[in-house]
């Protein structure tokens, strides 16, 4: 700059000297213009090193009196250089110079009082070797040969004028070109030696300047400068610049046809290339920037700035357009409007090709608007007080002392830092908000609605992009946020399927969740509330108190189907209703994990434990447990319509000290412990102890088909269970299970089929196919005491089967196979296959009184025997047999039996001439009998009494009328007698009769009929004994 000014000064001085010389010549010798022109041309090379041409030189004494002047027309300087845009350095239409003739004459000083250049065209050029085409004037030399001594010269620049000058400059080193056209300049000042006092008024039609990195153009440029240039090195003065149309592109476009006004009171040292501004102003369009400070320019082209600045109110949209493109790009996701003001600003640092100075300023906005496109609502009424640190070399930041804004109906306050302002927009802020929850609506998936009034306190420590990704895309892992939200009148609704309300609810949120819990992804949310009511579907209602929920969730965008969630819930009380089922639990703890599956179905793992749990259905069922644990793994199947049926849970239940009260049964069911695994295919009871009334049961095994039964009640629930017990009251168990699976509304049907009101027969459960492997030490059934009872019990859709149940009592070792069916209350079916080995006959009759009805003669004996009976009949609702359906077959064997009815025995033996020697004893009997309806037929059987043998047979009816016959077949006597016994059992008639069966037990004499009788006996006996299980009883 200094060099340019020096060159310009020298050039101007030299040019003036040329004119002055001409004037001096003229002032010495009055010449005609022609001579004067010739003289100027002759002496010009002494001042100008290049070729110079001029058309005419003339004196202007009269026009410039009292000064004299020289007017030269059409001056052309030609200085060709390689690569120069033009050979012509200057093409000047007219040059007028006036000088004080007295000073020239008296003090050898040329005092130029006016200089005018008109219609000039200048082509300045510098090549790569720093040679210029305008360095053509002989510096510091005056035409000594011509005037004999050197001149001092001074230029009183009160009259320096340029009119219609076009200046073109090209610099091969800096690759700069400049064009200043239609330049009019008025310079009033003094140039004394190296001191210049100037009052410059410059107007140009246009100025175009271009370097490889900078392009600027302006039109109607006006520049005014008033001040001094001392020794070509110190500029002190006021510089003003204005242009209504300026463009500036420095890599990117900064100014685009803007209006620029500059007022720069400056002091500038050209040696140091350093200066200062005091109360300078820059006006850009409607904006005004006040500047104070220092600037310097180093040889390495560094511009060092230290400037303070402030602005008037700025329209933010306009300001944004002046920001560097990088900054604009980083802010492209948002738009700004409103007013802002910068104050206490400072630009400090180096400006060069690679560096930008630091800019620090306070920013204040008033009711501005920020619209972030990805957010559903703009921030309005944004009042910001911040300190902006703009570092375009690295990262910029804003220290926000306070910001308030309104987002829809939410009022937001904040403070903190925004770092990396031009790129990442990284927030480190504390934000508070009074927010209606409805404002969150557009942030949430469409199927989620929330309501309530919240107080929000957040600490945000992440970038805008990450924050927006968290808020709008639910991508939480890159965000960094902690917050507390207190919500009054909270309401939540997801797809009208899950609804929740709470009077006041506190939320703590952490993003990412890993900041709160290592290894977790997504968002961490902790919820605390004194009371929460929830509804799931139309059937589940729940109310919780003192709820504390800690949860992490990821993949929220896809809704529940893809959510990856971990939840840990504790509640003091939980009351829930599902349809008619009520649940009440205290100190409940639920841990749940959901995992999305590739099939887009959800998998959930839930652990539930509770100190007390109560469930009931009206007064019909009531369940309590003091210690309750469930582990549930549930997989969703969205092909099912009912939301509850969509889940296929696998549940591991463990509970202790539970009680079940069923209104229809007298005794509560006590469950000291039970542990079972439930899944859609089966229920696996791994361990259980249950007390039902007097019975204690230990059960394990598998129950399957529950899911199929849920879908189709015509299908059977199947079970395969082992049941061990110390004691079972079978009556109680039957009462408990009676009627399960039957229609509950059977009163009318019962009346129609003649069921007595008092009748309540055991109805075998329907819908079940259960097999019990029973092993019990003791049991009672009515008056029946049983011991060591073991075998298999099956219940299959209304049919109960006791299969080869072995047991003992004081009377016998027993094996029972029985079938009981209850197709309808007044038509029950009972079938028995009963084997008693080593039975005490007397006890047998007392134990099973019906035996006396079927075999009345048995009661006349006492002793041990073996008894096999198969019987079946249909029963009425009061368990009375339908005699028409009664069928039975029995086999009785006995040895060494004592006769209890000694009177009848004596009468019979006397009539048959059988000597008993006073003993009332029968050595053996082997009886087969059948029962058909009311007819009981005793097939002929052998009685052994000492040396005697007799065969007895006959029939008696259930009305106790009988018709028996006894034949003596072996006797020491010569005759074999027979006896008929008939009549009612209480009043029997005895009469002698022929011996019927003398050959029945004599194979060699046995007839066909005897054979057939024996075959039938054998067939009956074989069929009965075929079912006796080996080793049992």
């Amino acid at each position: 700059m200094k060099k340019a000014l020096k060159i310009a000064g020298i050039s101007l001085g030299s040019l003036l000297a040329l004119v002055i010389i001409a004037a001096v010549i003229v002032s010495s010798v009055v010449l005609s213009p022609k001579k004067l022109t010739r003289l100027v041309k002759k002496h010009a090379p002494q001042f100008v090193t290049c070729d110079i041409q001029l058309e005419k030189a003339d004196l202007t004494l009269l026009k410039t009196f009292p000064n004299f002047g020289v007017e030269i027309e059409k001056v052309v300087l030609i200085n060709p250089m390689d690569n120069a845009p033009s050979d012509t350095l200057a093409d000047i239409g007219q040059v007028i110079v006036t000088a004080n003739l007295k000073k020239i004459l008296r003090s050898d000083e040329i005092a130029v009082s006016k200089c005018v250049l008109k219609d000039a065209r200048l082509h300045l050029f510098r090549n790569e070797n720093e040679l210029t085409n305008y360095n053509v004037f002989v510096s510091d030399t005056m035409p000594k040969d011509t005037v004999g001594k050197p001149f001092k010269y001074s230029i009183d620049l009160k009259g320096v004028q340029l009119k219609n000058v076009n200046l073109f400059y090209a610099d091969s080193i800096s690759k700069m070109t400049a064009a200043l056209q239609q330049l009019d300049l008025n310079l009033k000042g003094d140039l004394k030696e190296k001191d210049l006092h100037a009052d410059l008024d410059l107007n140009a039609g246009s100025l175009d300047l271009q370097t490889p990195k900078l392009t600027t153009s302006s039109k109607h440029l006006g520049i005014a400068y008033k001040g001094d240039v001392v020794h070509y090195k110190q500029i002190n003065g006021d510089l003003s610049l204005n242009t209504p149309d300026i463009c500036l592109k420095l890599g990117e476009e900064y100014l685009n046809h803007d209006t620029l006004l500059l007022h720069l009171p400056l002091n500038f040292d050209l040696n140091d290339m350093a200066g200062s501004l005091h109360q300078a102003q820059i006006g850009l369009n409607n904006y005004l920037i006040n500047l104070d400070g220092n600037a310097s320019y180093a040889k390495n082209r560094d511009i060092t700035l230290d400037l303070a600045f402030a602005t008037n109110d700025l329209i933010i949209e306009d300001v944004m357009s002046y920001l560097p493109e990088k900054a604009r790009t980083s802010l492209s996701s948002m738009t700004f409007s409103g007013k802002a003001r910068l104050s206490e600003g400072r630009v400090k640092g180096v400006l060069n090709d690679s560096l930008m100075p630091l800019i620090q300023t306070k920013v204040h906005t008033d009711k501005a608007t920020v619209d972030i496109r990805k957010l559903p609502y703009p921030f309005t009424e944004v009042n910001l007080d911040a300190l902006l640190n703009l570092n375009l070399n690295d990262k910029s930041s804003a220290d926000i002392s306070q910001i308030t804004a309104v987002m829809n109906k939410s009022h937001i306050r904040g403070n903190g830092m925004v770092n990396d302002l031009t790129k990442k927009l990284a927030f480190d802020m504390n934000v508070e908000a009074d927010m209606p929850m409805s404002d969150l609506k557009k942030f949430l998936p469409k199927n989620i609605k929330v309501d309530g009034q919240s107080e929000v306190k957040l600490k945000v420590n992440c970038g805008l992009k990450e924050l927006l990704a968290a808020l709008t895309k639910f991508k939480f892992d890159q965000a960094n946020l902690k917050g507390n939200i207190a919500i009054d009148r909270f309401a939540f609704n997801m797809s009208d399927t899950i609804q929740a309300t709470a009077p006041r609810l506190k939320l703590a949120i952490t993003l990412p969740a890993s900041r709160q819990i290592n290894g977790r992804k997504g968002v961490y949310v902790a919820i605390d509330t004194k009371q929460l009511q929830a509804q799931v579907g139309k059937k589940i209602n729940a109310e919780m108190t003192d709820l504390s929920l800690n949860t992490t969730a990821d993949n929220i965008k896809g809704g529940l189907n893809s959510i990856l969630a971990n939840a840990d819930l504790t509640v003091s009380t939980l009351k829930a209703d599902y349809d008619t089922i009520h649940l009440d639990t205290k100190q409940a703890h639920i841990v749940a994990t959901t995992t999305p599956q590739p099939t887009k179905n959800l998998q959930a793992y839930v652990v539930f434990d509770s100190k007390t749990l109560t469930t009931y259905t009206g007064k019909a069922y009531h369940f309590t447990a003091s210690d309750f644990d469930i582990d549930i793994l549930a997989r969703q199947d969205k092909s099912k319509k009912d939301p509850l049926n969509q889940w296929n849970p696998t549940a591991d239940f463990s509970l202790k000290n539970a009680e079940v009260h069923v209104a229809k049964i007298d005794n509560d069911i006590v469950i000291p412990t039970i542990n079972f695994l439930f899944n859609p295919k089966e229920l696996n009871i791994r361990e259980s102890t249950v007390r039902i009334g007097q019975s204690d049961l230990s059960m394990e095994g598998r129950i399957s088909g529950i899911n199929e039964w849920m879908e189709d009640h015509n299908r059977l629930v199947k079970g395969d269970l082992k049941l061990n017990s110390q004691f079972i009251n079978i009556d109680e168990i039957m009462k408990l299970t009676s009627g399960m699976g039957h229609s509950s509304d059977s009163t009318q049907a019962d009346a129609e089929e003649g069921v007595g009101k008092e009748d309540n027969p055991f109805m075998v459960p329907r819908g079940f196919d259960f097999s019990f492997d029973i092993n019990t030490q003791n049991a009672i059934y009515g008056n029946f005491d049983l011991h060591s009872l073991n075998g298999q019990l099956t219940v299959k859709d209304g049919t109960l089967v006791l299969n080869q149940i072995g047991f003992t009592n004081k009377a016998a070792k027993m094996q029972l196979t029985a079938i009981y069916q209850s197709p309808r209350k007044n038509h029950l079916f009972l079938g028995m296959d009963f084997h008693l080995l080593d039975v005490q006959i007397n006890d047998l009759i007392s134990m099973i009184p019906v035996i006396d009805t079927l075999v009345p003669m048995l009661k006349t004996f006492d002793g041990n025997g073996e008894f096999h009976i198969a019987a079946q009949t249909n029963l009425r609702s009061n368990y009375k047999p339908k005699i028409s359906t009664l069928r039975a077959a029995a086999d009785i064997e006995g040895h060494n039996l004592y006769v209890r009815d000694t009177a009848s025995f004596t009468k019979t033996t006397n009539m048959l001439k059988i000597s008993t020697n006073g003993e009332f004893k029968i050595d053996s009997i082997d009886v087969q009998l059948t029962v058909f309806r009311n007819e009981i037929d005793l097939y002929p059987f052998l009685l052994s009494i000492g040396k005697y043998k007799a065969v007895a047979s006959g029939r008696h009816n259930l009305d106790m009328n009988c018709n028996y016959h006894i034949s003596v077949t072996d006797t020491p006597l010569p005759t074999r007698l027979g006896i008929d016994i008939s009549g009612n059992m209480k009043n029997l008639k005895y009469s002698l009769a022929p011996c019927k069966y003398k050959n029945l037990y004599r194979p060699e004499r046995r007839g066909d009929t005897d054979k057939m009788v024996l075959e039938l006996k054998q067939k009956i006996a074989d069929a009965l004994k075929a079912n006796v299980k080996k080793g049992n009883p």
Binding site: H827, Q872, S884, R887, F932, D1010, M1012, I1020, A1023, N1027
Partner: protein, 124 residues
Amino acid sequence: MKNRILALVCLFLTIGVSSCGLFGGGEQELDPALLVGKWEENGLYERYYSNGKGLTWDTKDDVSEEEAQPFTWTLSGTTLSQEHILFNGAIVPKIYTVSELSSTKLSYHDNYGVNHYFTKVGSK
């Protein structure tokens, strides 16, 4: 005279052989096909199938045909054998002597003098 006495003895023997027997039966051959069908005696029904199977039920006891009990039967001479098989395979045999069997009437009795008189109410 001797020949007459001998002939009389033979006649008695013939009659005795043909009519005697503990469980009834005799020389008369009855057509089992006549037995096939549904018979009724005061609410007591018996149905005989040609394959030797049968059903019995008594409506006086609130038992319908659908709830009837099965048996197998054979008819040999006048001896009607029924074998009622219980649920567990045990059997209750019943042997009757048929007194009359026609397309409409069936009567039989056992050795204890219990008689049944059925009327046919269905041919199948």
